[in-house]
Amino acid sequence: MFKILTVVSVIVGALAAKCGSASCSTAARTPVRFPALDKLLALVMVLSFALLALTGFYAALLGHHLTGYLLICHTGSGGAFAGSLALLAVFRAEAESCGCKCLFWTLVLGGLGVVLSAVVMMQPWFGTHGQEVLVELHRYCALVTLVGGIGCCGQALLAKSA
């Protein structure tokens, strides 16, 4: 099921990128206040997102537990992703054009779910069953993030090439 949903999420993300690319053209965007910082944050976010997707979906799709060096990589890039996404959300709150907004906020919403489920798992609040639920929640939030992430990045790339 999760594998199918992953494929669907990738397709939805790609379609959303294509559909929204027109409204996400550079002209349509409100200029950001700190373009250099924005670019840096976006770069960190994209790279960490790619790492997270690679490590996380690799384990999930193969039915493995995320352990070993992959886990360290996943957790480490998770921190970078959370930080960069949270700051981008602050900086781009006004800047995103209407067309981009939808995908960006989807990314933020998914990201919030992913980060929240991860950090709650580290607290002694939930027992074994709760932990299992949180792992599932983390996975499905990751799918939402995937849609938002592919959408946003795709839009940006398409808009640039246009």
Binding site: Y69, G78, A89, A93, V108, V115, Q123, G127, T128, Q131
Partner: protein, 763 residues
């Protein structure tokens, strides 16, 4: 008519002869244990008249077996190891062949568990095994061989068979005595052991001393009432009624009976400091979980047991069986609390057994030394206080079990002498080595024997002790010597034997001037007394002598004191023997060196002794190559004649899982912090296991837990390191969540505002 009578007679006889076994019938629902007021039967099934002087010991197969199927019981785990027909199950504690003199600690098992040796393959017969380990066996198994004439050196016809001792487990009598059982095994009174241990009768005599043609039907030995007294029993008559019946105080096996053979305690701990298993503290008895029916295939309680036995009901009594059933579904059995395991990622339950966090002592930088009943021969009381440090067993050591999960184990490093052929090592039994080892490995005993001999002087002027290299040694009950850790001889104290009185060291013989023309009479008398004490039984071993200055004083066979000149000048008195005019100290420097080097350690011999032993063995049998396995290595003499150590699978440790003592949830590993396991110094991952054993050497195998767990040490170091940053990491994530939630909230409010405007415009 006649035919009918014959058939009826045969039928009735058949009914009487057949084991009734009515206790094997389905349970009637009564929850009490019936009173077992029974007559006793001997091994031929005849009723015992306890008042008769020739009464035989009772037979459990014929007394208990009248109602309970002895055959079915014999198939139980406690009694079926040597049959080779039952599944081995998860590895358990091996039997350990211990020999202090040769430094042997060899794990044995008929079940083929990893790292153990099959006793049959080593030439140990059922007789040998029963004699060796009967002390902690509940009877049956090797104690009841099918063919008693199969083994020519066995004495089954004298000793009788060692039947299953039902009372060892099921007796609730306070008179049930495990030490008495052990005593009877040592005396080869196998058939009498159950009677003696039950307290129903007093057993005397020793089958061990009786000629091999004697049988139980021969009765007392009219020629010898002192030494070769055959075993006999005098029943305690007040325990029998007029019908020769007695009440067996039968009950479900009580913990105290189980613990006779299944105790584990930290070495040298105080009894009052050792906590019970959390289940015992809650009022559980061993058999509440370790249940069985008449077949005595007792539930062992490990996770995969139900699958292995193809019996789902067995699974109810594993940790998970009781604890991991959710309260909403009725909970586990016996009101077991449901573990929340808050904040523990589920992957832990797939990689670790429950016992990893909940059983055994908390892991430390090195595992805890423990003593276990069967291997260390615990719980046997009486005059013999034997050395219980060997074999050297440690826990917890974390190893992947047969189910692939990491679990705490006990570890023991094998130690034995072996013949090596084509790289394969075959253990040599200690008996075979005893003769060679004498004079080489028995350094402590050599000194102990002299101390014992001096002790026979009945000297009121003090206790005879041995002093060497500023250390003081006392004779111990085993014939060896113990280092006195509370008394340090004054600096400059001469080496040798001395008297210890009121904290002062005195010479064994009064000091005198060896240059004097004649000794004082009192001195001469004392010298002769002391020399007499160390006079060997065999005159060929030499005359007892004292070397002092440039003189040798010898006690002649006629009891006079002979004086001879010595080429050496002995500043301090040296006791010894003169053979062919040559003086030899009674304790060699080699022995003294060995004792001093091993003093205060649990090791019993040195590399020097090992090398000499290997040389002696090689000289005696040039066709074979000899080696000693111990401390994680194989030691053998190289081509240069020097000792060389090498690795070999035979030197690898043997493990068996720890199940008890179970600790409470609050005291479990990781309950206080994740860093108990996830840190760069975590004992569970980076604890060190140093190979224990009787050899004192610097060449000792050391392993880290991660090696045994087959985990990546570098990764776990790195992962552990991340936990130092974890609080900051969590705070950052919470901050990011807050920011994102805030921005989403603001965005939602803005969206709502726009939506409201839109609605307003529309109106």
């Amino acid at each position: 008519m006649r035919v009918s009578i014959v058939f009826l007679t045969i039928g009735a006889a058949g009914l009487l002869a057949a084991p009734r076994g009515f206790a094997d019938e389905p349970w009637d629902g009564g929850r009490t244990v019936p009173v077992h007021r029974l007559p006793l039967n001997d091994s031929e099934g005849l009723d015992i008249v306890p008042s008769m002087p020739s009464a035989k010991p009772f037979s459990t197969s014929k007394s208990c077996g009248t109602c309970h199927s002895y055959e079915k019981i014999s198939a139980g785990w406690h009694f079926n190891a040597s049959s080779g027909k039952t599944p081995a199950g998860r590895a358990g504690e091996p039997w350990v062949l211990i020999d202090g003199l040769t430094g042997t600690q060899l794990p044995l098992s008929y079940r083929g568990w990893a790292g153990t040796w099959n006793p049959s393959a080593l030439g140990l017969t059922a007789w040998d095994f029963t004699k060796m380990f009967g002390r902690h066996m509940p009877g049956g198994d090797t104690g009841e061989p099918a063919d008693i004439f199969d083994d020519t050196h066995a004495r089954w016809s004298v000793s009788g068979k060692l039947e299953i001792n039902c009372l060892a487990c099921h007796s609730g009598s306070h008179a049930q005595d495990h030490s008495e059982w052990t005593r009877q095994i040592a005396r080869e009174n196998f058939a009498w052991a159950a009677t003696a241990a039950s307290g129903l009768g007093e057993v005397g005599g020793m089958a061990l001393r009786v000629k091999p043609t004697w049988t139980i039907n021969d009765g007392p030995n009219p020629d010898d009432k002192e030494f070769a007294v055959p075993p006999y029993v005098k029943y305690a008559m007040p325990q029998f009624d007029s019908k020769n019946r007695t009440v067996f105080q039968i009950q479900k096996p009580a913990d105290k009976n189980c613990l006779n053979c299944h105790s584990v305690s930290p070495s040298h701990a105080k009894k009052e400091d050792v906590d019970q298993d959390v289940h015992s503290r809650a009022g559980f008895q061993c058999v509440d979980c370790h249940r069985n029916d008449i077949n005595h295939k007792i539930v062992r309680g490990y996770e995969t047991e139900a699958v292995e036995r193809k019996d789902a009901s067995v699974g109810d009594f594993s940790c998970r069986g009781c604890h991991v059933e959710e309260p909403a579904k009725g909970g586990g059995r016996l009101g077991a609390p449901y573990p929340r395991h808050g904040g523990i990622p589920p992957v832990h339950f797939e990689k670790l057994s429950c016992t990893t966090c909940h059983s055994g002592p908390m892991p430390g930088a090195t595992p805890t030394d423990v003593r276990v009943s069967r291997a260390n021969r615990l719980g046997i009381h009486g005059r013999a206080l034997w050395f219980t440090d060997a074999p050297f067993i440690q826990e917890p050591v974390f190893v992947k079990g047969s189910d692939g999960k990491i679990a705490p184990h006990r570890v023991m490093w094998p130690a034995f002498w072996a013949r090596r052929a084509n790289g394969k090592l075959t253990p040599i039994q200690p008996d075979e080595l005893a003769k060679t080892a004498k004079g080489i490995l028995d350094a402590g005993h050599q000194i102990g024997a002299v101390l014992k001999a001096f002790g026979q002087l009945g000297d009121e002027s003090g206790e005879t002790v041995f002093v060497a290299s500023g250390k003081l040694f006392h004779a111990n009950a085993d014939g060896d010597v113990d280092l006195d850790t509370t008394f340090a001889p004054p600096t400059g104290s001469p080496s040798g034997f001395a008297l210890l009185k009121d904290g002062k060291l005195l010479p064994l013989a009064p000091s005198f001037d060896p240059a004097a023309a004649q000794l004082e009479s009192a001195v001469e008398t004392r010298l002769l007394e002391v020399l007499q004490a160390i006079a060997p039984d065999d005159a060929a071993m030499g005359a007892p002598s004292l070397a002092r200055g440039k003189k040798i004083y010898t006690r002649n066979e006629d009891g006079s004191l002979g004086v001879a000149d010595s080429s050496d000048d002995h500043a301090a008195p040296v006791w010894g023997r003169t053979v062919n005019g040559k003086f030899k100290p009674i304790v060699s420097e080699f022995a003294v060196r060995a004792v001093v080097e091993t003093a205060g350690t649990v090791q019993s011999f040195t590399e020097e002794q090992l090398a000499l032993m290997l040389q002696t063995l090689a000289a005696a049998d040039k066709s074979a190559e000899f080696a000693y396995v111990g401390r994680g290595y194989v030691f053998a003499l190289g081509k240069d004649g020097k000792l060389a150590a090498s690795s070999n699978p035979a030197a690898e440790p043997v493990f068996w899982p720890v199940a008890h003592n179970v600790r409470s949830a609050q005291a479990s590993l990781g309950a206080r912090a994740c860093t108990e396991c996830h840190s760069t110094e975590a004992a569970m991952l980076f604890g060190r296991i140093v190979a224990g054993g009787p050899l004192k050497t610097k060449t000792v195998a050391v392993k880290k837990m991660v090696e045994l767990e087959k985990l990546d040490g570098s990764y776990h170091k790195l992962f552990g390191l991340t936990f130092t940053m974890r609080p900051l990491f969590k705070m950052t994530l919470w901050g990011c969540c807050g920011l994102m939630a805030a921005m989403l909230g603001v965005g939602a409010l803005v969206g709502l505002q726009r939506f409201a405007r839109y609605l307003g415009k529309k109106e």
